[in-house]
């Protein structure tokens, strides 16, 4: 049986599979099931039963998200399905691999999802910088259209679907799903108040589902090989496989598809090859820049949503950023604070004014001018910018590495103060 449904067709040393090659290996089987009479509710049930959780960061159950979309005769005729392909979380490089490695897998998944919620228009919201993904996706979309898998009355099902590839004009905040919808509508990408949730009132006020690229790429396998197969993939409590990446000063940085529940140590030491010579692991962010630091003592935990949450962090995007023993943790967190400060959309005060203040304090630490008063202000901001205090999740995301960093690397902050310089600089 297939054990790597997301990457089984990916070989970056050759061009990705075209439509015919993709179909020859069980591609677009979900669409053929639909043509044989599978109802939207059947698709929804399958996705619910699969236990698939969103792979974009939040880890919300996909089937449950879809189930909030109004269905039936009284539901709005116009609905939208949107793929969040705005990969910009610092340290995250997994959706690019899927789009450039197997574009038809994404289109296949989009057709399944759009059918399930009965959306006739779907957008791929792609980062403007992903020019290679754009080129590859445009070609694959043209093939799918040519083959009659997109357009009107697809395979005589009575179902119509157009997929529009939208390239974004930038800004990290567009990854937040309601900000993404505003950007797609041509507005400034400020997040929206929830409720109403996009599932009920999203793009242009219509019911809309926004799913991450990797989430959508899970759907063709679920449709082709079923729930029992999907649930058998895992080694842990959550179902399926996931892309896991490691960057930083390890021997072989990279991105691999592994069963959920794989031990972190296996990812770090077997796949990424362990630390480079002369370096030790000091800590790591398990799922991109918005996650709490974890420590070497956590290596024997599993890559599982609950396990990582138990250590006070989040699996999130599954792409780890490794902090080695010769890289300054204060500098690393400072880099993240500059990023978050720069990427604040400016809508709510704690984020707009708090993050630049935090960033300024890190610049002072870097210049050897940090003080204990500054440390206290940073501690306060972990609270002031935390969950529930801001309009969206951007600033709380910043407090994850900040708060955990202050806790775990306190001694490094103290040394910056006592030595009035960065102790990692020669």
């Amino acid at each position: 049986m297939v054990s790597n449904p997301l990457t089984r067709n990916i070989d970056l040393s050759r061009p990705p599979f075209d439509l015919a090659a993709y179909e020859a290996v069980d591609g677009y089987r979900g669409l053929r099931e639909i043509a044989r009479g599978l109802e939207p509710s059947d698709v929804l049930d399958k996705v619910k039963d699969s236990g698939l959780k969103g792979r974009g960061g939040a880890g919300f159950p996909t089937g449950l998200k879809w189930s909030f979309v109004p269905m039936g005769d009284d539901a709005p005729k116009q609905k939208y399905f949107v793929v969040n392909a705005d990969e910009m979380e610092p340290g995250t490089f997994k959706d690019r691999l899927l789009m450039e490695g197997d574009p038809h897998l994404l289109i296949d998944g989009m057709i399944i999802a759009s059918y399930a919620i009965q959306a006739n228009t779907a957008y791929i919201f792609l980062r403007g910088e992903y020019t290679e993904s754009e080129r590859i996706l445009r070609k694959a979309l043209a093939e799918a259209r040519e083959r009659g898998y997109l357009g009107n009355n697809i395979l005589d099902t009575g179902f119509d679907l157009e997929i529009i590839l939208h390239t974004s004009a930038g800004r990290y905040i567009c990854g937040e799903e309601t900000a993404l919808l505003n950007a797609l509508e041509g507005k400034r990408a400020n997040p929206r108040a929830k409720p109403p949730f996009p599932q009920v009132s999203g793009l242009w006020g219509k019911p809309t589902i926004v799913n991450n690229v990797e989430t959508v790429c899970n759907l063709p396998g679920i449709m082709a090989w079923g729930i029992d197969w999907y649930r058998s993939l895992t080694k842990g409590n959550d179902h399926g496989t996931k892309l896991f990446g490691v960057s930083g000063k390890v021997r072989s940085p990279g991105c691999w598809e592994l069963p959920l529940g794989t031990p972190i140590r296996e990812l770090m030491e077997v796949y990424a090859g362990g630390m480079r010579d002369g370096l030790e692991l000091k800590g790591f962010l398990p799922g991109g820049g918005s996650t709490d630091f974890m420590l070497p003592e956590h290596l024997d935990l599993n890559l599982d949503y609950d396990d990582i949450a138990g250590a006070g962090s989040r699996l999130a995007t599954g792409t780890m950023i490794v902090l080695d023993s010769q890289t300054c943790p204060v500098g690393m967190i400072g880099n993240l604070m500059t990023f978050f400060s720069h990427e604040s959309c400016g809508y709510c005060t704690p984020c707009r004014d708090g993050l630049p203040w935090v960033d300024e304090i890190f610049r002072a630490f870097e210049a050897g001018k940090g003080s204990h008063r500054d440390l206290a202000i940073l501690e306060e901001h972990v609270d002031y910018l935390g969950p529930g205090k801001t309009f969206c999740a951007l600033a709380p995301g910043a407090t994850a590495p900040l708060g955990s960093g202050l806790r775990y690397f306190r001694e490094d902050f103290e040394r910056h103060i006592s030595e009035q310089r960065c102790p990692y600089k020669q």
Partner: protein, 175 residues
């Protein structure tokens, strides 16, 4: 007589004169992909930028008038998104990743080399008009950090790359 309507028609004509035929054709294509003019506005700015390199006040006004969008609103959008350039840029924009994985892998040192090689800092354009250097969030290639884009192309593992050779490919007149 409705003077307001006449003025609007008059200004649309001005916009139509300003915008080139290819730009208008591309903007009209975008109209078929989105249900309203506002969504097309951002796309139209990208189209104008593709043809002219950047979005000048005149371009912005022409797009706003052509699509009948409030100028201030379009301006607000144009200044929000970092890939819309409201000042002239060089023939090749260098989007330089300075996010966390690239930082760990030494992007600051590589950036100093680039600044030395080209004689520009972030936000600046070389005197020969070939390059503009701009920082950009994580380019999603973290296992091959540090990385940057030059125009549409991604360049990886910059700590061991021949920067001079990379930039030479893009200099005006270079094949």
């Amino acid at each position: 007589m409705n003077t307001g309507e006449n003025q609007l028609i008059a200004s649309t004509t001005v916009a139509a004169d300003y915008l080139r035929e290819t730009e208008i054709a591309e903007i009209e294509h975008e109209r078929t992909l989105y249900p309203d003019a506002r969504a097309v506005g951002l796309e139209a700015l990208k189209i104008v930028q593709k043809h002219r390199g950047w979005v000048s006040d005149e371009s912005l006004r022409a797009v706003a008038e052509y699509l009948r969008l409030p100028i201030a609103e379009l301006e607000g959008v144009a200044t929000f998104f970092n890939l819309i350039y409201r000042r002239p840029v060089g023939r090749n924009v260098i989007l330089y990743c300075n996010s966390v994985s690239c930082w760990i892998m030494g992007c600051e040192q590589v950036k100093d080399k680039i600044a030395g090689e080209l004689g520009i800092d972030f936000g600046e354009t070389t005197t020969d008009g070939n390059f503009t250097l701009i920082p950009v969030p994580c380019l999603g290639d973290c296992d091959r950090a540090p990385v940057m884009m030059v125009g549409p192309d991604q360049h990886r593992n910059l700590d061991r790359a021949d920067l001079g050779a990379i930039f030479a490919q893009y200099r005006k007149g270079a094949e």
